[in-house]
C-alpha cells in the first residue's frame, strides 16, 4: 500500500491532483465570466438596487422619525416653559394681590384711626367750647346777680357802666386765679 501521494502523482500512471490543465482554467474563465454577466444582468440590479433603495427608505424614515421626535421635544419643552411662565405669573399676581390687600387694609386702618382721633379731638373741642360758653354765661349771670344784690344793698340801682366794669374786672381776676387752679 503506497501512502505517498506525491510519488503517485509524479509517477503519472495514476490521476494527478497537482497538475495544471490549461483547458480547465480556460473553462473556469468562461464559466465565471458567463456567470458574472448573467448575474450582473439579471440578479444584481434587483437585489442590490432594491436593497439600496430600501435601505435609503429606512434611513429616510429613521431621519424623519428623529426629526419629528426632536420637534415634539422642542414643542414639549416650549409648552413646559410656557406652563412654568404661567405658573410664575399666577404666583406673582397672587402675591401682588395679597400685597395690595394688605396695603388697603393698613390704609383703611390708618385712616379709620385718624378719623377717630379727629372725631375725638373735635368732640373735645366742642366740649371745651361749650364749657367756656357755660362759664361765660354763668359769669354774666353772676355779674348780674352780684350787681342786683349790691344795688339792693346800696339802695340804688347800680347799673352804671362804671360799676359793671368794676365787677367784671374783679370777677376776671378771680376767674383767672380759679381758671389756673381748674386747668
Amino acid at each position: 500500500m503506497n501512502l505517498n501521494l506525491l510519488a503517485i502523482a509524479a509517477a503519472g500512471t495514476e490521476p494527478s491532483i497537482f497538475g495544471i490543465n490549461v483547458g480547465v482554467s480556460f473553462w473556469t474563465f468562461v464559466i465565471f465570466i458567463v456567470l458574472s454577466v448573467v448575474l450582473a444582468k439579471f440578479a444584481f440590479p434587483p437585489i442590490l438596487g432594491y436593497a439600496a433603495a430600501r435601505e435609503q427608505r429606512i434611513q429616510d424614515a429613521l431621519d424623519e422619525a428623529r426629526r419629528q421626535r426632536e420637534e415634539t421635544e422642542k414643542l414639549l419643552e416650549q409648552q413646559r416653559q410656557e406652563l412654568q411662565n404661567a405658573r410664575l405669573e399666577a404666583q406673582s399676581l397672587i402675591a401682588e394681590g395679597k400685597h395690595a390687600a394688605e396695603r388697603v387694609r393698613t390704609d383703611m386702618l390708618t385712616r379709620a384711626k385718624a378719623e377717630q382721633e379727629e372725631l375725638v379731638t373735635r368732640a373735645r373741642q366742642d366740649i371745651e367750647r361749650d364749657r367756656q360758653k357755660a362759664i361765660e354765661s354763668l359769669r354774666r349771670e353772676a355779674v348780674d346777680i352780684a350787681l342786683a344784690a349790691a344795688g339792693k344793698l346800696v339802695g340804688k340801682r347800680m347799673d352804671a357802666p362804671e360799676d359793671r366794669r368794676l365787677v367784671t374786672e374783679y370777677l376776671k381776676s378771680v376767674d383767672s386765679a380759679n381758671g389756673a387752679g381748674a386747668a
Partner: protein, 298 residues
Amino acid sequence: MMPSVLPMIRAAASEEGGEFDIPSMILHHLADANEWATPFGVIPLPQFAPVQVGPLTIDFSITKHVLFMMFAAFLVALMLILAARDAKRSREAGAERGPKGAANVVEAMVLFVRDEIALKNIGHGGERFVPYIVSVFFFILFCNLLGLVPWGASPTGNLSVTMALALITFVIVEVTGMRELGTKGYLETIFYAPHGMHWAMRLPMYVIMTPVEFLGKLTKPFALTIRLYANMTAGHAVVLALTGLMVIAVSANALWVIPAPLIMAVAIMVLEIFVAFLQAYIFAMLSAVFIGLIRHAH
C-alpha cells in the same frame, strides 16, 4: 440492508487487484476525470482533441470539474435570479415589503458579502466591485459545497480552477491600480522609494525593493490559488481516508472498528461544510482586501 451491502463492498474492494488501495482511491476521487460516476453508472464526458495554441497543447475537454463548475454556476445563477425575482415582486407589491422566506436568506447573504466583505475592505467608492466579490463568493461556495454531495466533485480542489479564479482577482486588482493611481502611481507600486529621498539612497532602494514589490504582487494570487485548493483537497482527502478505513474494516471482517472512522468522517464532513463557507469567505475577503490595498496604495 447492511448484510446485503457488505458483500458488494468486499467485491468492490477486491476488484482493484485483490488489495484495497486507499491512496489511489483518494486520488481517483479528487482528481479531475473525463467521466462522471453517478448512481446510474459512469457517464463519459465529451473529449476533444488537444489544440495547439502557441507553445501550449490545450485540452478543451469538458472534464468532471468543468461539469461541476457549470452546475455550480447554474445553481448560483438560479438562486440569485430567483431572489432577484422576489425582490422585484416585493418592490412592485409595495414599497414597505422586504424579501420573504428563502429570498430573504439569499438577500441577507448577498448584503453580508456586500457590507462586511466588499465595502468594508475596499473602502469608499467600492460599490463598483460588489458584483465581482458577490459572484466569486457564491461561485466558490457552490463549487466547495458540490464536493460534499455524494457523487459530486469540488472544482475548487483543482489547481487549474483556483489558479484561474486567483488570476481574475489579480487582473482586477492590477487594472484597478492602473485606473485609480494613474501610470505614475501604478508604477510606484512596483518601483518605490520614499519621496524626498536623496538619489544616492533611492538607487539601492529601487534595487532592493523592486523585486520585493514585484514578488508581493505575484504572491497574492499564488496564495489565493494554493489556499483554496489545499483546503478543499485536504478536507476531502481526510473524509476519503476515513471512508477507506471503513471499507478495509469491512473487507477484513472487523466490523467493530467501523464506528470510530464513521464518527470521525461525519465530524470532518460537518467541519467541511464550515470550511466550504470559510474558504469562499476568505477568497472573497482577500480579493476585496487586495483591491482596497491597491486603491489606497501609498
